[in-house]
Amino acid sequence: MPVFYGVEVASPLMLGTAQYPSPAILAEAFRASKAGIATVSLRREQGGGQDFWSLVQGLGARILPNTAGCHTVKEAVTTAHMARELFDTNWIKLEVIGHTDTLQPDVFGLVEAARILTGDGFQVFPYCTEDLTVCGRLLDAGCQVLMPWGAPIGSGLGINNAYGLRSLRAHFADVPLVVDAGIGLPSHAAQAMEMGFDAVLLNTAVAHAGDPAAMARAMALAVEAGRAAHEADPMEPRDMAAPSTPVIGKAFLS
């Protein structure tokens, strides 16, 4: 199972807690999927979200607060400090949004905020692109986990740059890597795990499904299948057919 900052997590599935039809359905989704980590946002609740945060703390998953909705380094750093006080954890999923329409991370602000927060004793989970240089800078800034996007947040477009993610995996073989954002279907989650990623983080695909709990379970199954497949060392694809039963002795030339 994935290990982040020395902590082993019970499942490679990480679920967001926003946009569910109700907290009761949110809890069902966590029960059905046994997701190991629950991300939770602070920003929009403006300090009046204590009841909801208590519900999230009762989900049975480890809490990873995030800085969703922050567009500047200063906002993200302030939100992270609030999160540490509220949830009593050094873990922070760092989001610094750079583009309003695509919610693409501002990678420059991200590296800067990561450096500040690491200095403040945080264990940072940066939401980033799959850019090798950016990821290298994040590691230099003290991050020990990277969370590259599969596709823009909430888009459900899946693994958009398989080449880039594969190359990231190959270059940072020892760093825990999480595909965060863009997962729309279990097949996308399975693909990320087959590629050797340590975990996937998703929210909208489950929260906006007609039956969130059933979709959460489907995601858990997919993540398990993808991880097992990766560990089983899959075959290499090839162009020529290779019959799985011998053809010699059969009248295959006729």
């Binding site: 039809p21 109700s22 009761a24 359905i25 929009r44 609740e45 009046g48 979200g49 909801f52 519900l55």
Partner: protein, 325 residues
């Protein structure tokens, strides 16, 4: 005598239902009349059981269907013009999803949309029309209930009278958190615009992956825009971000809203239980009626009928999850 605590939508509807069934009732509320202190004051007033089903549990649709007739009978002023659900072209997938998750609609094309709402002609190529839905002006409806109760001789007290009532119905909304530990607040923000350049006959919902908006015509060029759903119990003033989102969605619906006058903004916290469905709870001589969430006008008639049935026959109705006599 049945005493009802709280004269918001839940308290007034229970009082009206019980009074109509011939029971003596009285209300206690520190405020003299419906107003900004209660969260139903900020409601949209959509009676839209089919549309709500997209994100709400099944009982909301089943029990909400009866609300339209109930309000017409007890308060009047119900507009039965249906609901129009639209989306910008790039979000067309949202419309398909909304259609799949609800019933009671038919697909309408650009011409049919123009026939329903002339001012939206040429702006949208496809939509959903929920013909059986309705809307009302929530403030007028609350005041009408109160006036009719007063006319029937029902007493409204600012503080509880000394004589203990036979039965107490606690309908205080979020204020009842002191007795209901699993009740939480869900913040909603709204604004009221005057835009004489636009005429709409029915509520219009604009689907958007990030900023869903509804706009309810209140007549005389006045529109209510709502409403955010934020997991927070903070009341008070609307935030700049919510204002920006609501207004930009309205502008996308019709650019003339850019010239509208902002008459009012408001925010309050809706009382909700974890599954966002209402509850009746019986503890001794007290019955709690609460947790209407964003369905105050849609579900209060059903909750009131259940409370009345329980008082009359002792049955445990659907929304009653706790009975200790």
């Amino acid at each position: 005598m049945i005493r009802i605590l709280g004269a918001g939508v839940m308290g007034l509807v229970i009082a009206s239902e019980l009074a109509a069934r011939g029971h003596p009732v009285e209300l206690v509320d520190p405020e003299p009349a419906p107003g900004p202190h209660g969260c139903s004051w900020w409601a949209g007033g959509m009676l839209a059981p089919h549309c709500e089903r997209e994100s709400a549990e099944e009982p909301v649709e089943r029990h909400g269907l009866a609300a339209i007739d109930w309000w017409d009978r007890h308060a009047g002023g119900v507009q039965r013009n249906g609901t129009l659900v639209l989306t910008l072209n790039r979000d067309r997938g949202e419309l398909a999803r909304f259609a799949r998750r609800s019933t009671g609609h038919r697909t309408v094309d650009g011409d049919q949309i123009a026939a329903l709402e002339l001012d939206l002609a040429g702006r949208f190529a496809a939509g959903l029309f929920y013909e059986a839905e309705a809307h009302l002006d929530p403030r007028a409806a609350l005041s009408a209930l109160r006036d009719r109760l007063v006319a029937q001789g029902v007493a409204f007290h600012r503080t509880p009278p000394e004589a203990a009532p036979e039965t107490l119905i606690d309908a205080r909304g979020l204020a009842a958190r002191d007795r209901l530990a699993d009740l939480r607040g869900v913040r909603g923000e709204m604004l009221v615009l005057r835009c004489p350049d636009v005429t709409l006959s029915r509520p219009v919902r604009l689907l958007h992956p990030r900023i869903p908006l509804y706009i309810v015509p209140r007549g005389d060029g006045v529109f209510m825009l709502g409403a955010t759903m934020i997991e927070s119990d903070r009341r008070g003033i609307v935030t700049a971000r919510s204002l920006l989102e609501l207004l930009s969605a309205a502008y996308a619906l019709h650019p003339a809203f850019g010239e509208a006058e902002v008459l009012e903004t408001g925010a309050d916290a809706r009382p909700a239980f974890p599954d966002n469905l209402p509850r009746l709870r019986r503890r001794g001589a007290t019955i709690f009626a609460n947790g209407l969430y964003r369905h105050g006008f849609l579900l209060s008639p059903a909750v009131a009928a259940m409370a009345a049935d329980h008082l009359e026959t002792g049955i445990t109705p659907e929304f009653m999850d706790e009975v200790s006599r």
